[in-house]
Symmetry: C2
Subunit: 344 residues, 2 copies
C-alpha cells in the first residue's frame, strides 16, 4: 500500500494520460458542452482511477466562487455554553442536508454579535454568503447589517419577516402561528390566555406570536389583558420563573401560550408545583415542537415550525442572492400539533 503514491494528482496528470490539455480536463469535469462525450468519459475514467479531486482552493481562487456558505449562530451575551437552542440545532440538520444536496460546503461558527464575522468569512472569500441565526436582538445591529448591505455582502437571516427589515429575512409566519394557537385555545373553551415571552420589538418573532394571539382574541371580541403577558426569554428556567411570576401576581388565567417549548416546559413545572393541573386547570401551548415536546408530561401541544422547509429556504434564498436570481417567498407556514397539554 503506497504511503503517498506521489502526492496528489493534478489536472495536468489527468491531461497527460488522456492525451489532452489541462483546460480540457477542467472543462470535461465541469461538464462544459464543448468537450465531446467520448473525451469526457475518457477523462472521467482516468480521474476516477487516479483518485483525482479538484483542488478547491485553486478552483475557488480562479473562479471567485467558494461554493461554501457560512452559518453563524449568534449567542446571547450571557448564554451558557451548553444551552444551544434545540430549535436551531434541529435547523442545523436541515441546512446541512440541504447544502449537501447542492454540493455546497458549510462553515459553522458560534459568534458574539460583536465579532467581525463578515470580515472573517465573506471578505476573505471563504464563503459566498452568510446565514445569520439567533433569537437575537437584531435591532442592536442595524448599523452593522446596513454596512453589510452596502458592501455587497450576501446574507440571509432567520427571524420575523417584515418589510422594513435590513437585508433579506426568512422566517415562520409567527403572526399566523400565534393566531393558530389562540384560536385553538379559544376552541377548547379557554378565555383568559396568558402569554409567556418577550412581546416587545426587540424580539420581533415573539412579538409577532403575541400579536397573533391578540388578533385571535380580538376576532372573538375578547380584549387582550396586558397583565397576562409576562416576559420570558427562551429557556426552561425562564419559563419557570415567568410562570411563577404570573401565579404570584394573582392574575386569573386558564391557559398559557408560551413563546417556546422550553418556556412551556418550565411553566408546566411551575404549575405542577403550584398544584395547578395541566390541562385541567391550565391549558398549555408551546412553540417549536422540539423533540422534548412529545416526551413532556403531559405531551405538549405546540406549533410546529417546518424546519426542513426553513433550511431549504434559507439556503435557496441565499444562493439566489449570490447568483443574482429571483428570490423565493420568505414566509413559512406553521402547523399546530395537538397533544394532551391543551386539553383538546
Amino acid at each position: 500500500m503506497g504511503r503517498k503514491p506521489s502526492s496528489k494528482p493534478t489536472s495536468f496528470d489527468i491531461a497527460y494520460r488522456a492525451g489532452v490539455s489541462q483546460p480540457t480536463v477542467s472543462r470535461a469535469l465541469r461538464g462544459s458542452k464543448s468537450v465531446s462525450l467520448a473525451t469526457r468519459q475518457r477523462i472521467e475514467a482516468i480521474a476516477r482511477e487516479l483518485n483525482y479531486t479538484v483542488d478547491k482552493n485553486a478552483s475557488s481562487l480562479r473562479s471567485q466562487r467558494a461554493n461554501t456558505i457560512a452559518l453563524l449562530f449568534f449567542e446571547e451575551p450571557g448564554a451558557e455554553e451548553s444551552t444551544i437552542n434545540p430549535f436551531f440545532l434541529a435547523m442545523l440538520g436541515a441546512i446541512t442536508r440541504q447544502c449537501a444536496n447542492r454540493g455546497i460546503d458549510l462553515l459553522i461558527s458560534f459568534q458574539k454579535m460583536e465579532d467581525d464575522w463578515h470580515v472573517r468569512y465573506q471578505d476573505s472569500h471563504r464563503a459566498d454568503g452568510l446565514i445569520l441565526l439567533g433569537y437575537g436582538d437584531y435591532t442592536l445591529y442595524e448599523q452593522r447589517l446596513t454596512g453589510l448591505v452596502g458592501q455587497g455582502t450576501h446574507f440571509v437571516r432567520w427571524g420575523s419577516v417584515r418589510d422594513d427589515n435590513i437585508g433579506v429575512t426568512v422566517g415562520s409566519d409567527n403572526l399566523g402561528a400565534g393566531r393558530l394557537a389562540g384560536q385553538h385555545l379559544l376552541d377548547v373553551g379557554r378565555r383568559q390566555i396568558a402569554f409567556l415571552g418577550q412581546a416587545d420589538e426587540h424580539y420581533p418573532e415573539f412579538a409577532d406570536r403575541y400579536n397573533g394571539l391578540c388578533a385571535a382574541l380580538g376576532e372573538r371580541g375578547i380584549a387582550a389583558d396586558p397583565a397576562l403577558q409576562v416576559n420570558a426569554y427562551t429557556n426552561e428556567e425562564d419559563g419557570y420563573r415567568a410562570a411563577r411570576q404570573l401565579l404570584q401576581s394573582g392574575a386569573v388565567f386558564d391557559a398559557i401560550f408560551a413563546a417556546s417549548d422550553l418556556i412551556a416546559i418550565g411553566a408546566i413545572r411551575a404549575l405542577g408545583e403550584a398544584g395547578r393541573a395541566v390541562p385541567g386547570d391550565v391549558a398549555v401551548v408551546g412553540f417549536d415542537d422540539i423533540p422534548a415536546a412529545g416526551h413532556a408530561s403531559p405531551p405538549l401541544t405546540t406549533v410546529m415550525q417546518d424546519l426542513k422547509r426553513a433550511g431549504d429556504l434559507l439556503v435557496e434564498t441565499l444562493l439566489a442572492q449570490v447568483e443574482d436570481r429571483d428570490q423565493p417567498e420568505q414566509t413559512i407556514p406553521t402547523r399546530l400539533i395537538v397533544r394532551k397539554s391543551s386539553g383538546a
Copy 2:
C-alpha cells in the same frame, strides 16, 4: 456609501501604498520576524484602513494549508432527521469554540458512512483533517479507515480508546465511568444492577461501560448476571422498549445503569407505567448529562462527560497530527453527577 469601492484590495494594493513589495506585506501580516517593526506597523495600519483581508483561497493554495477542519457526523442508517444525539450537539458547541479560539474554520457535514467524505474534504484540500463523530459501528468501516491511514489522511475519531484502534481515537474513560456508576449503585445498597445498552463489540463505548459495571461488581464479589443486560441503542424509545423487555422477563433488579441519558429517561417512563418507583424500587443512573437529565423527574443521576475537554482534545489531537507534533493523552476522565434518581 460606495457600493463596491473598487472590488477587494489585494496585498499589492497594500504594498503600493506602503511603498514596499507584495511579499513584504505577506510577511508582515503573517508576523514574520524578518520585517522591521516600523514597516509592519505601517502595513498593518494601511491594511486596516483599506479593510484588507487575506484571501483564504490564494493563501491556502500557496501554503497548502487550509486552516480548516471538517467535522463529520455519522448517522445511523435508519436515523430520523430530527434525532441528532444531544450529546454530540453539545460537543459541537465545544469544538466550534475551540476552533474559533485557534483561528481555525470548521466545516460540518452529516454523512452516511457510505459516502466518500475523505475525497470531499481532505483530498480536495478543503480541510487539513477530519473529526469523525458518531456512536456508529466503526468495525464496519475498518477497511475504509485503514485506507485513510494509508493515504496519509489526518483524522481523529471519538469513541472507545483502545490499543488496536485504527487511527487515533479520543474518548471518555468509559470503563472507569462504568465502574463509577456501579460503585455508586453498590454504595447506595443496590445489588441487582441491570444494564440497558448494547454490550457487544460493535458498540465499544457501551461495551466498555458495561465492562466497567461488571468490574465494580466483581470487586465486591458479585457476578454479573447476563439476564440483566438488555440491548438498547441510544434514544428514548429504545430505552423504553428495553426497560419493558426487562420487566417482562421477570428478572429481579433494584437498579438500572443506562448507557445513555435518553435510554435512562425512556426506562424511567416504562418503570413508571409499570408502577415501579424511582428511586424507591429501582435506582437509575444514566450517562452523558444532557440538559434534559437535570429536568427529568426524578432528576437523573448520571455520568458527566467533559464536553469542553472533549472538544478541546479532539481539535488539539487532530492539529498535533497535522502539524506532526506529539499527541496528547486521549482519554478523558468522567464525573458522577448524583441526583435523585439513584436514591443517594
